[in-house]
């Protein structure tokens, strides 16, 4: 099969101002290695997108480009109307509006759960402390751990830490949330509590991009599923057709591998 057939035409964009994320012809290299190959993506406000694919397919790198944790070399990324380039002001403006949840939580271990949630609103958003505390407690309640507010991250379980990490991002009132394999480092019994929080968040209309292997989550929540392999977008579509009727043989092979047990 030649690679021409893999390439999916970019999603027909609706009115451009509805698209909160626009990615055009995104290319990235790690040294000689071409990790992202001409990716295109338009995300509408409130849209929930799941990105899946084998390890090393570039899916994490892709969403890390969206808040410039990774720099891209060619192509264009526009987030919430701001062009992502090397200009630090633009990068920081975008990062204020884009929350990110990491595989390994990355909570700040020297600060209590509450202080973790206060730091960015107070120092980056300049929210008064009292108001920031109210917001933080509201989100800690939403992720169902207000009673842990004064503990340190090291005293919590993995699932609790990840929920704190979600609350910490939400405290910045972001317009977009990026999830980079949020459940991959968790024990099986804790995956559900994190997914429940993410499902609740999806229901509230948040724009979400999730890299995940949780196909059940993709089926219930996603508006679109994107399958990446070798740095390319191989196939994308609504979960219904993606799971039941995959077009590409590579997609079928991948789904067979992960769904057979």
């Amino acid at each position: 099969m030649n690679s021409e057939e893999h390439i999916i035409a970019p999603v027909e964009s609706a009115a451009a101002d509805e698209d909160i994320i626009i990615v055009r012809d995104l290319n990235k290299w790690f040294g000689q290695f071409h990790v992202l190959k001409s990716l295109n993506l338009n995300v509408k406000k409130g849209e929930r997108i799941v990105i899946c694919g084998p390890s090393g397919s570039g899916k994490s790198t892709f969403i890390r480009c969206i808040n410039h944790l990774e720099a891209h070399q060619r192509g264009e990324i526009i987030v919430d109307g701001v062009v992502l380039n090397e200009d630090l002001k633009n990068i920081e403006a975008i990062r204020r509006e884009v929350g990110m949840v990491f595989q390994h939580f990355n909570l700040f271990p020297h600060l209590s759960v509450l202080e973790n949630c206060l730091l960015a609103p107070i120092w980056v958003r300049k929210t008064p402390r009292k108001e920031a505390i109210e917001i933080a407690m509201e989100y800690l309640e939403r992720v169902k751990i207000p009673e842990q507010a004064h503990k340190y991250p090291g005293q919590l379980s993995g699932g609790q830490q990840q929920r704190v990490a979600i609350a910490r991002s939400l405290c910045m009132k972001p317009k977009i949330m990026l999830f980079d394999e949020p459940t991959s480092a968790l024990d099986p019994e804790m995956i559900k509590e994190v997914l429940d929080v993410m499902i609740e968040l999806a229901g509230s209309g948040m724009t979400m991009l999730c890299v995940t292997h949780e196909m059940g989550f993709a089926k219930t929540v996603a508006d679109r599923v994107i399958f990446m392999d070798g740095g390319e977008c191989v196939e994308e579509g609504p979960p219904q057709s993606f799971f039941n009727n995959p077009q590409q043989p590579r997609t079928r092979e991948f789904l067979d591998q992960i769904l057979q047990h």
Binding site: F102, H104, F108, P109, H110, Y152, S169
Partner: protein
């Protein structure tokens, strides 16, 4: 099949408690441990006994001069008679209230740092690193507000040791942090400057630096421009130790996982804020033992100013020992110096332990 019932939690088995239990467990657990304990105990008694007898029990505490001393007993008259010189050097006796005030202020800022619940501890610390050095200079040096000026060449003794160490410590730590950050910078020019600076100062012995500062620097300065000798020594010591400090701090920075930097970035923190609020608090906490090491060695290295003709505590004692009247009491003199240094260095060591315990939030990322 029976439904699984979880087992109840039981208390751990009792271990041997009390003084006797401790002795049994640590000193007399086996026959060879018992023999070793007895032998070591016997040696301690026959060696330590005479030392204690010499230094405390039969020691001479008061008198006029070496004539009052007895052979085979410590002669603390020496310390008692020359204490003013050991503490202040040639600082005029009638003006010693000025360094005394500074020392009291120093105690007021430092002692509460050992007690986490002391009120206003943070403000005192801030005063300690900003106001105290300025106020200390005004008071000890004089020349302002009608205070008689006292030339730095007359400063000496423990006072000089503490001034050198205190200024060196509070200057070397921030400079070291900046150098460590610079060495990890992505900007090649800044990184180059920091690497060169660190590698230069770290590769030269402190004695050489002090010699250069006192002998060579004046050769390069234009005629008539003089640079205070104490200031030169202070700059030399500070820059020398900041290079060490930089490497200690860099070790801490390298121990912080990449995820911490990324989480800070993703939340919209810029470089300086993420360093100040997120990275440095963790990195410095990790390297507290290393920082304490550097600080203690800085404190002890201040004795090297002796070779450029400044009379710190050790210098003051040594110069007194060259006086024929006191020639026979060298052991007492050096013991006194060692005790003074031990008190301050042990204090710093305890403080760093306290700090480690206080800042421990119980896990690694």
């Amino acid at each position: 099949m029976a439904v699984h019932q979880p087992l109840p939690d039981l208390p751990p088995p009792p271990s041997e408690r009390g003084l006797w239990g401790w002795f049994r467990q640590n000193l007399f657990s086996t026959w060879y441990n018992s023999i070793a304990s007895l032998v070591v105990g016997y040696l301690l008694i026959i060696w330590l006994g005479p030392v204690i007898n010499w230094a405390l029990i039969s020691a001479v505490w008061t008198g006029e001069g070496t004539d009052d001393c007895r052979p085979g007993a410590a002669c603390w008259i020496f310390i008692q008679q020359r204490l003013g010189f050991f503490l202040y050097g040639f600082y005029p006796a009638e003006l010693r209230w000025r360094p005394n005030i500074v020392f009291v202020l120093f105690l007021i800022t430092v002692v509460p740092q050992f007690f986490p619940r002391a009120p206003g501890r943070k403000w005192l610390a801030l005063f300690g690193i900003t106001g105290l050095p300025v106020l200390g200079f005004v008071l000890i040096n004089g020349g302002f507000f009608g205070l008689d000026p006292v030339a730095t060449s007359r400063w000496g003794g423990l006072m000089l040791t503490l001034i050198l160490a205190y200024v060196g410590i509070i200057a070397a730590l921030p400079i070291g942090v900046v150098l460590a950050l610079g060495r990890r910078s992505e900007m090649p020019v800044i990184r180059g400057i920091c690497v060169t600076f660190i590698e230069f100062w770290r590769a030269v012995p402190l004695i050489t630096i002090l010699f250069m500062a006192s002998v060579m620097l004046p050769l390069f300065l234009p005629q008539g421009v003089s640079f205070d000798k104490l200031l030169r020594a202070l700059i030399g010591i500070t820059l020398f130790q900041s290079a060490y400090m930089a490497e200690v701090v860099r070790g801490g920075l390298q121990a912080i996982p990449k995820g911490q930097y990324e989480a800070a970035q993703a939340l919209g923190f810029g470089y300086w804020r993420s360093m100040r609020l997120i990275i440095l608090p963790q990195a410095l906490k990790i390297v507290i033992p290393g920082i304490a090491n550097t600080v203690i060695s800085l404190f002890k290295d201040t004795t090297l100013v002796l070779i450029i003709g400044l009379f710190d505590l050790l210098g003051a004692v040594r110069s007194t020992l060259s006086d024929p009247a006191w020639r026979s009491v060298a052991a007492e003199g050096y013991l006194f110096v060692a005790l003074c240094f031990w008190i301050f260095c042990f204090g710093m060591s305890r403080y760093s332990h306290n700090l480690e315990k206080k800042l421990d939030t119980g896990h690694k990322t």
